[in-house]
Subunit: 230 residues, 2 copies
DNA sequence: GGCGATCTGCGACTAAGTCACATTCAGCCG
DNA sequence: CGGCTGAATGTGACTTAGTCGCAGATCGCC
């Protein structure tokens, strides 16, 4: 993992990327700025692996990463993505519960983030209402999201979930540029069933398929499919 | 929902049920005791439903409840149980994040618990290190647990999960007293597949079946089954 | 003993995932 | 240009899980 400590300069400006932290109490703000450092990761690099210990609280300034769980039998699910303005909530969980990472993180684009030492994180939780509010709002949302995801992955039909994913990734009619195998992983499924569904859709004239790409032809059909299965 | 305000009397003794709160700072202890009240629910009653707002922090003194998520298509999963000495962690999440309950709670036995008004809860978080520590430790674990549950429900075979459940509920060789349908719900599955697996096990001589009950004969066989599938 | 509600058993069917292998395609190298 | 290679895709047979409809068994209760 390659990490660069950022140069001082305008370093303290990073707080502006987190509107909720704008109201930070002056003392807390100083504490935070004095004890944080910049981290950069290149696309494709691994942020952490399952079982890693966690030392720093992380705030994402720029770039996207995926948090995924790798199961005992080799299957994989995308749990969620972390983007600009987010905190890495699994990190919060580990720092709070003194446990190890239950999932892994990979950079999908180049990343720029702020790391805050665990001790500082805990101090701020104790002393700053604003900081505490910031942290727990993110945590609570993710917890709800994970419960919703569980529900979705376990009980919703694959074709409906696939329709949702395709529609979400094709704003403005642009094609989805991804392999079927990667799409399957995002859905917590595997290549073959996903490929079969896509092939059917192609035969019905709903989409066109090419190697590593897919284009939506009949948006309504997919929308209806996504809607009809709870 | 029937709620009884407990009589004063030895009311303040309840703190002894929560060892982690024993070290509470005297001022915080007073604050907590002065602003909490006892709640009782009878077995079968509903604590809260999905979408309910949350007003009080809850500590369980006695009895067990189940927190479950009910899906759009009528399926149901048990997320976790709350027992003596636990706090209801989803409540923490709602109070901290100002969101609504993403799941429902049902009393499995008669319950006795302590409710603490949201305002008091927030005050104590600000003022008491011990209280904060108590809350966060419980809270941090939940997210990891939900991710592990997701993994288990989505990727582990039903027979292995069923074997685990049966073994866990039959300490000391006592029979499992539950209907197949309720067992299936606990596993996020349905009656028929669970019934089929149990019937097979009976034919193999691993268990004996009766209406609303099941007895383990060959503990080793079940242990092996639970172990071999990730 | 009879009755109703609940629990259990079973068969046929659909959805999803696994396995093994064939086919197609893009990029590259000579 | 042609052929090679590896990745991506297509396909069929099979297993596991869940759905649906209904039959049969069992318990508590009058």
């Amino acid at each position: 993992m390659t990490r660069y400590i950022g140069a001082p300069g305008h370093w303290r400006d990073w707080v502006t990327h987190f509107p909720a932290l704008a109201r930070l109490e002056p003392a807390a703000r100083e504490e935070l700025l004095d004890n944080s450092f910049e981290v950069r990761l290149a696309a494709g690099e691994i942020g952490y692996r399952e079982g890693d210990a966690c030392n720093n609280f992380i705030l994402r300034i720029d770039g996207w990463s995926r948090i995924q769980r790798l199961s005992a039998n080799g299957r994989e699910v995308l749990l969620y993505r972390v983007g600009p303005g987010d905190s890495c909530v699994l990190t919060t969980s580990c720092l709070l519960g003194v446990s190890r990472y239950p999932a892994a993180s990979t950079a999908e684009t180049d990343l720029r983030e702020v790391a805050i030492a665990g001790a500082t994180f805990r101090t701020l939780l104790n002393t700053s209402d604003v900081f505490r509010q910031f942290v727990f709002e993110h945590y609570g949302r993710l917890l709800s999201d994970m419960i919703a995801l569980l529900d979705e992955l376990k009980f919703r039909r694959l074709d409906a979930r696939l329709a949702d994913l395709v529609l979400a990734r094709t704003d403005g009619g642009s094609p989805v540029e991804d392999t079927q195998s990667r799409i399957a992983t995002d859905l917590g499924s595997t290549r073959e069933p996903v490929g079969r569904i896509l092939k059917q859709w192609e035969r019905k004239g709903w989409i066109t398929l090419a190697r590593g790409r897919l284009e939506v032809v009949d948006r309504e059909a997919l929308t209806a499919l996504a809607a009809d299965q709870g």
